[in-house]
């Protein structure tokens, strides 16, 4: 029962997104803007791979921050959260929104990753398996922590600025591990060398999803 309703929530998110295309368009423009700022600031310099792996995750983090907070805030703004609360149980709302966020941030990070590889010549990835695996697991981790935080800030008064403030300390272990793994991929490491990083990313996501699943009810029913 929960799975069917979560699937419906998931589909509903996509339908309402494609009706306006607000988030997608805004996020794509956000990516273009930040990437061009990075390109301008690099100029004729040749930054190291370490700095470039750091900036890649800065771009992904802030685009996730501006995109993922929408899911619950939009629900409150449109005044549809009450209906949703009446119709389905809270765990299916959580699972549906989590998967929608995950797909959204995954598409976004893949776009960022591809354009990063295309436009920044100094950034050379030698082991692509590690690079794409990091993007995949990093997106899962970002989505897992931001879904519950988005639900929290949807109830607060100042929604916009609060989200990155709340998310940053929680997401920092994830971001540092992602930056480490990206560095490994630029150094041409083998998959076996990055297993430690992937283990951390997976355990972070599992811990986050499990905890949020337990406490989501309190936030949603409040």
């Amino acid at each position: 029962m929960t799975f069917i309703t979560s699937y419906h929530i998931f589909i509903k998110e996509f339908v309402s997104e494609f009706r306006t295309r607000y988030a997608l368009n805004a996020l794509l423009m956000f990516v273009v803007t930040t990437l061009s700022i990075i390109l301008f600031s690099i100029g004729k310099e040749s930054p190291t791979q370490d700095i470039l792996s750091g900036t890649l995750w800065i771009v992904i983090f802030f685009s996730a921050m501006s995109g993922l907070s929408r899911t619950f805030v939009a629900e409150e703004e449109r005044g549809t959260s009450m209906t949703l609360r009446l119709l389905v149980n809270s765990s299916s709302v959580y699972i549906g929104k989590l998967f929608y966020n995950f797909i959204l941030i995954l598409v976004l990070s893949v776009i960022i990753g591809i354009s990063y590889l295309l436009f920044i010549k100094e950034f050379t990835v030698k082991s692509f398996d590690i690079f794409w695996m990091t993007i995949f697991l990093g997106s899962a981790g970002l989505a897992s922590a931001s879904t519950i935080l988005a639900a929290i800030i949807a109830k607060a008064n100042t929604k916009g600025t609060l989200f990155p403030v709340l998310a940053f300390p929680i997401l920092l272990p994830l971001l540092l591990t992602c930056i480490n793994a990206t560095k490994l991929s630029t150094e041409g490491a083998f998959m076996s060398e990055a297993v430690k990083e992937f283990q951390i990313l997976i355990s972070f996501t599992v811990v986050m999803v499990a905890t949020s699943f337990l406490v989501f009810d309190f936030v949603w029913k409040d």
Binding site: K155, F204, V215
Partner: protein, 237 residues
């Protein structure tokens, strides 16, 4: 807290401060009050008696805040929220103290106040978590909603803390004992290689600061209860 406990805590902590600062450090100690001279650390080793217990009390305050947050979610009693905030505000104070004592020690042992060692990163993140917690609280007007959401946030932040304490120092190279590359002090719980009398003072200090935290905590809770009571009276009039 009972009167005798307050007096004994005061005497206890005074004793620790005297012992920590005034006991001489000599090569080859003979009597019970002489600390051994540790090459590389020298007189700076005294800081372990203050810095580590304060950091420990910070974590205790954080766990207490999280515990009372989850108790609020279960019982929906505003008194638990009050305890959670009291512990968090004390934790913020202790966290600042731990950061400062650590930074001073880092300056004289490692050369600069801040080196982004994994443990320094963790205490910085703990500061950010406390900051975010109080920002979140100030952003919500309704009392019960504020209590619920901040409790949820402290739980969500609490589950990431093991990643800082146990995972990060293992994958990043650092300067604290127990970091990656430090063969002697591996493992999440450090092996204590201090001299016996120094170890005694150290553990006495751990106990002392923990009890001091609970004393301050009970005072803070009583103060906040009175404040809330006064507020309720002025609202009804």
């Amino acid at each position: 807290m009972k009167m005798w406990l307050k007096i004994s805590v005061s005497v206890w902590i005074t004793g620790i401060i005297i012992a920590g600062i005034a006991f001489p450090m000599v090569r080859g100690p003979h009597t019970w009050y002489e600390f051994p001279f540790i090459p590389g650390l020298e007189e700076k080793a005294r800081n372990i008696i203050f810095h580590v217990p304060i950091s420990w009390a910070t974590v205790v305050a954080f766990i207490m805040s999280m515990y009372y947050g989850s108790m609020y979610l279960r019982k929906k009693d505003m008194d638990y929220d009050l305890r959670s905030v009291s512990s968090a505000s004390l934790g913020l104070l202790l966290c600042v103290l731990a950061t400062l004592t650590g930074a001073v020690w880092a300056k004289f042992n490692w050369g600069s106040f801040w080196n982004w060692d994994p443990r320094q990163t963790s205490i910085f993140i703990l500061l950010l978590i406390y900051g975010a917690y109080f920002v979140l609280r100030s952003a919500i007007d309704e009392e019960e909603r504020r209590a619920t959401l901040s409790s949820v946030y402290s739980i969500i932040a609490g589950v990431t803390v093991p990643f800082f304490i146990f995972v990060m120092p293992r994958i990043m190279s650092g300067l604290h004992p127990g970091s990656l590359g430090d063969e002697q002090g591996k493992g999440p719980v450090l092996e204590f290689k201090m001299a016996t009398n120094m170890l005694m003072v150290f553990f006495a200090s751990l106990i002392g600061f923990t009890v001091l935290y609970f004393w301050m905590y009970t005072l803070k809770v009583r103060l906040m209860r009175i404040e809330r009571h006064v507020q309720q009276i002025t609202e009804t009039e």
